[in-house]
Symmetry: C2
C-alpha cells in the first residue's frame, strides 16, 4: 500500500519559510537558514545534477526519503507562488529545465493547464478537482513507492486535516526563527494523535518521524 | 553562575495550552493532553504532596529539573489569569494552600501586592518594575541553583527576546493540537540560534534540550 508522507525542515518555533516569500524569494527572508543542513549533502546535490557532497547520517536519511518517493503533490503556490490564471508565458516552476523531482508531480490549482514535461523525468500535472483527486492520481502514479505531500504549508495542512497523511517526518532545525510561514497554523478539528517512530540526532538537525494515528 | 531556563510541554505544532483558558480552566480546553505524561510521575506527585507514582526515565528528568530550581519567575496570568487590580479578596494562585513550588516565586504584575507566604516553602513575591528586576531578584534568591522562567508563553517570549534565557527544555508531545496558546508566537528581532544539547526519547514524549547561543 502506498504511504502518504510529509517531510519538512522546521524551526523549533514551527516555521518552514521566512516572511515575505515571493517568486523572487520563494523561501522568504532568511529562509535558507532552515535548509542549509541539506545543501551540502551528496543526495541533495545529486537531485540537482551536481557531483560530490557529504555522505553523513543526514545524507542517508535524505537518500532514503528520495528513494521512497513515487510521486509528489504540491500547491500552486509552491510551484510558482502565483494565484492568477497562467497567462501567455506561464512560469515553469522554480527549478529550471531539469527539476529535482525526477518523476510525476501533481500541482493543485484552480486553473487548468496541459501537463508540463521537463528534462530528467519530471512531469508536472495540473489538477483542478481537489486534493482527493490529486492524491488518487499521485498514488496511481507512484507504483509501489510512496507519495510525498511536498508543500506548501497550506496544502500539508489540508491533507493532514482530511486525515490523508500517514507519516510526518520533520527535520527540526535548532533556531527560533521568529516569523514567516508556519508548517502547522491552526488546524481545524479535533487534536490529531501521533506516534513517534524514529528520532535521529545528527549534528545540524534532529530528525523526528511520526505516524499519524487515524 | 545561575542558569536561566525554560521548560515546557509542547505539542508538535507548538502549543502549550488549549484555547479559551480561564481561571476555571487554566490549561485551556483539552490542555491536560499536553501534560498527561507527567501526572503519574513520582517526582511530580511528590511536589503535589502525593505518594507513589512512576519512577521511569521521564521521572528522572522531572526530578532533575525540580532539583535545579532555586526560584521561579512567572507572569500574573499564570498566577491568577487576571489582569485587573487585586481586589478585596485577592486570589492566592491556582495551587491552593501548599503550592508545588516549595521556594520563591517572582510574579510579574503591574499591581503592587505584599508577598504571599504559603505552606510548604512557597512565597510569591510580586514584582512591578519589569522583567530584568524580577530576574535579578530570582537569581539572588536562587543561591547556587537555577531560575526557571515558568510561564506563561508571553513571559517566556519576553525573556527569550531580551536574551536572558540560557536554556530551553521542551517535552515534545506527539500530538497536533490545532489551537490554543503557542509557546513561541512571533518573536521580534533576528532569529535566535540554538545548540541542541540533549535528546531523550521516552515512551510518551521526546525531551529536547537546547542551549541559547548568545
Amino acid at each position: 500500500m502506498v504511504a502518504v508522507f510529509v517531510e519538512m525542515s522546521m524551526s523549533l518555533d514551527g516555521y518552514i519559510a521566512g516572511p515575505d516569500d515571493s517568486q523572487e524569494s520563494p523561501l522568504g527572508d532568511g529562509g535558507e537558514r532552515l535548509h542549509e543542513w541539506v545543501f551540502d549533502l551528496a543526495a541533495w546535490r545529486e537531485m540537482q545534477g551536481l557531483d560530490g557532497g557529504k555522505t553523513n547520517r543526514d545524507n542517508e536519511i535524505v537518500s532514503e526519503s528520495i528513494e521512497r518517493i513515487g510521486a509528489h503533490v504540491m500547491g500552486r503556490r509552491m510551484f510558482d507562488n502565483g494565484d492568477g490564471p497562467w497567462g501567455d508565458d506561464p512560469f515553469e516552476g522554480y527549478w529550471g529545465e531539469n527539476p529535482p523531482f525526477h518523476g510525476p508531480v501533481f500541482v493543485l490549482t484552480h486553473h487548468p493547464r496541459e501537463p508540463l514535461e521537463m528534462d530528467g523525468g519530471t512531469t508536472f500535472h495540473f489538477v483542478t478537482d481537489g486534493i482527493e483527486t490529486a492524491l488518487e492520481r499521485a498514488e496511481a502514479a507512484a507504483g509501489d513507492r510512496d507519495v510525498r505531500i511536498s508543500g506548501g504549508a497550506d496544502v500539508v495542512r489540508q491533507y493532514v486535516e482530511a486525515g490523508l497523511v500517514d507519516e510526518i517526518q520533520l527535520q527540526l532545525v535548532p533556531v527560533l526563527f521568529g516569523d514567516g510561514i508556519r508548517l502547522f497554523e491552526h488546524l481545524i478539528g479535533e487534536p490529531i494523535e501521533l506516534e513517534r517512530t524514529r528520532v535521529v540526532e545528527s549534528s545540524d538537525v534532529t530528525h523526528l518521524r511520526f505516524r499519524v494515528i487515524h
